[in-house]
């Protein structure tokens, strides 16, 4: 039985539906991300769960209770904000104690719980400081601690890492996931950053134009995108376009002389405009001389630049149809700038989608 239910939740601003019939069921121990570009409605959806916005239609249920009409302070939820929103006139200790005071807990209990938060978030020694005397990372820890001390029914996180630098962000990702696992409460995490969503979530809901395009496990979202938008937005892909050709139990397309051949897709009619996506890391490289140039799922290209990304090398390749990007582990043989290479990939790594009217 799901712990949090969104039942046809919609929100209308003027004539625009910021959230359009969102249905979700989230389990009690789940880490769920709402992933989408800015303006997709993911933050509005989070604010509806928090009670900061009222849905135009639909219901929100938390722990079996319909909370749609309840104001935020009666919902037992907590939130971590992108801008931290710590109370500037209160010390770290007082910020952490705030939710507990609102719960009217006895003083001893408040002290014990703040002490616990200070301990797990490495804030010891900072209790008497004011927020503006803390670094960004420390402020984010206090914000997270304030979210956790009250043992909320659900913790809502609104792009909490967007204002931190990359290194700190990766550190915090580990920490956030760890606390979620330890506490066993659901986290709903809003982000536009696919890496954050993929690194921490159990399941990801991809939000676009107010709608949930897909809500599935992170591996399913990454490996088997259900829509072209997801294929484009999650992971980094190369895109080929052409007309669908159905023959010998395969669905194929031809883009600038390159034949892209996938397993049969009965849902795609012959002659329809389609797009094929192949993720950067699914494309393999060989010296051009070693490959027959006319095989399906193969193309010949020249290496324009090589970007070194630590464990991976990212090749930017030019071919007759434009540019593709391929990332390969450094453990493989490296190619130099200007080298002629053959690129090839497996049938199973192709994601095919019919193209929409506007060419997407």
């Amino acid at each position: 039985m799901a712990y949090i239910h969104l039942d046809g939740v919609s929100k209308q601003y003027g004539s625009v539906w910021a959230v359009d019939r969102a249905d979700m069921a989230i389990g009690k121990q789940e880490f769920v991300s709402l992933l989408g570009p800015s303006g997709s409605g993911k933050t509005t959806l989070l604010r509806i769960i928090a009670g900061l916005e009222r849905p135009t239609q639909g219901r929100v249920l938390i722990d079996g209770e319909d909370v749609t009409e309840l104001p935020p302070h009666r919902r037992g939820v907590a939130m971590v904000f992108q801008e931290f929103l710590l109370f500037p006139h209160r010390t770290v200790y007082e910020n952490l104690a705030f939710p507990l005071r609102m719960l009217k807990l006895p003083k001893g209990e408040i002290e014990a719980r703040v002490e616990w938060a200070v301990g797990i978030l490495a804030l010891r020694g900072l209790e008497k400081r004011y927020p503006n005397q803390l670094s960004g990372g420390q402020q984010q820890r206090v914000a997270l601690g304030r979210g956790l001390v009250g043992r909320p029914k659900v913790l809502l996180l609104d792009e909490p890492l967007a204002n931190l630098d990359r290194e700190l962000r990766q550190e915090m990702e580990v920490e956030i996931r760890k606390h979620q696992t330890d506490l066993g409460i659901p986290f709903i995490y809003v982000t536009h950053n696919q890496e954050e969503a993929l690194s921490m979530s159990d399941r990801i809901a991809v939000v676009r134009g107010g709608r949930i395009e897909d809500f599935a496990s992170r591996t399913a979202i990454y490996d088997h995108p259900r829509t072209a938008f997801i294929a484009q937005f999650v992971g980094r892909s190369n895109r080929f376009t052409g007309t669908a050709l159905i023959s010998q139990g395969k669905t194929a397309l031809c883009d600038h002389g390159v034949r892209i051949e996938s397993a049969a897709r009965p849902d795609i009619a012959d002659g329809k405009r389609i797009a094929a996506y192949v993720k950067n890391e699914k494309i393999q490289l060989k010296p051009a001389a070693e490959m027959p140039a006319d095989a399906a799922n193969t193309l010949t290209a020249t290496i324009r630049y090589v970007l070194l990304r630590g464990a991976y090398a990212e090749y930017v390749l030019g071919w007759t149809g434009g540019e593709i990007i391929v990332s390969r582990p450094r453990s493989e043989a490296a190619f130099a700038q200007g080298a002629e290479v053959a690129c090839f990939w497996n049938e199973a790594d192709i994601d095919l989608f019919p193209m929409t009217e506007d060419g997407r």
């Binding site: 009670g51 935020p72 907590a78 109370f87 500037p88 503006n132």
Partner: protein, 286 residues
């Protein structure tokens, strides 16, 4: 060189301004207060006679106490009225926020005297209010005109725009999303106001209060035109020393006392309020 000149210019200008227009006149006032005036002539004899007069003649003390009471009441009323007005503008003003705030300053486009005279016309014995009451068959209100109540109404009318503007600016700088945070963490709207909104705007509120209180202490026009026989306030009595009576030295001593009282009040308030607890860092945001 350029790097050093800039702070000198930026800090130098206000320094020159303050010394020229505030410190020097203040010093001359202190000096004048220990001299005396006879028949419109200043006589340069050092004596504390003026202060003796202020301390011993009961009328001056009455004026001062009455002024303090008046200024307190007026500032309190202004603050209580200004808060909901300023808050309403920040919440619901939308894109007319600035316009609404400026509209509050429209009375400043006319002179103070004119505004007071207008109030006289409104509240006077044969004024608009009483005219309305009479035409309705009711008895005219005698308590309003030429009483301290009339003075208070006049002062509230004069200083309300300033208090509204100052509190509005404070609220404008206040991050409303902190209220979201407070309610998420279990505070009811009323609780969120007293835990977050009020303390974080206390500094602005105090400035608004002070910008009403201090000019009220030295107000001359409102009590003179609206106040009536028992309405003499300290500032009005002080102005008379420089005008009709020609006792400038006594007036200067009154000014020194007024300045000392104002300074004392500011110090007491500064002592009572911990700026950190109002979110005021003195270094701007962040």
């Amino acid at each position: 060189m350029k790097g050093r000149a800039a702070p000198a210019i930026f800090l130098g200008m206000p320094t020159v301004f303050l010394v020229g227009l505030f410190v020097l006149p203040l010093v001359s006032m202190v000096v004048l207060s220990v001299w005396r005036t006879e028949n419109y002539h200043i006589i340069r004899d050092f004596s504390l006679h003026n202060y003796e007069v202020l301390a011993t003649e009961g009328a001056y003390m009455t004026f001062l106490v009455r002024s303090l009471a008046m200024a307190s009441a007026v500032s309190l009323i202004c603050t209580l009225l200004a808060w909901p007005v300023a808050y309403g503008i920040t919440l619901y003003g939308g894109r007319y926020k600035l316009l609404l705030t400026l509209a509050f300053a429209v009375p400043f486009l006319t002179g103070e005297v004119l505004r007071i005279i207008a109030l006289q016309g409104l509240l006077g014995p044969a004024g608009l209010l009483n005219g309305l009451l009479l035409s309705l068959g009711a008895a005219p209100l005698r308590v309003i005109m030429y009483t301290n109540v009339a003075s208070a109404i006049g002062l509230v009318y004069l200083y309300l725009p300033i208090v509204v503007t100052v509190i509005y600016l404070s609220l404008l700088n206040f991050d409303q999303r902190l209220i979201d945070a407070a309610t998420i963490f279990g505070a009811s709207p009323a609780r969120a106001f007293f835990e977050i909104t009020w303390p974080l705007n206390l500094f602005g509120t105090l400035i608004g209060f002070a910008l009403c209180f201090i000019p009220c202490l030295s107000a001359t026009l409102a009590p003179r035109f609206l106040g009536g026989p028992n309405g003499t306030l300290y500032g009005m009595a002080m102005a008379q020393q420089f005008g009709e009576s020609g006792t400038w030295a006594l007036g200067a001593a009154m000014g020194v006392v007024l300045f000392a009282v104002s300074l004392l009040l500011v110090i007491v308030v500064a002592r009572l309020v911990d700026l950190r607890r109002t979110g005021f860092t003195g270094f701007g945001r962040g």
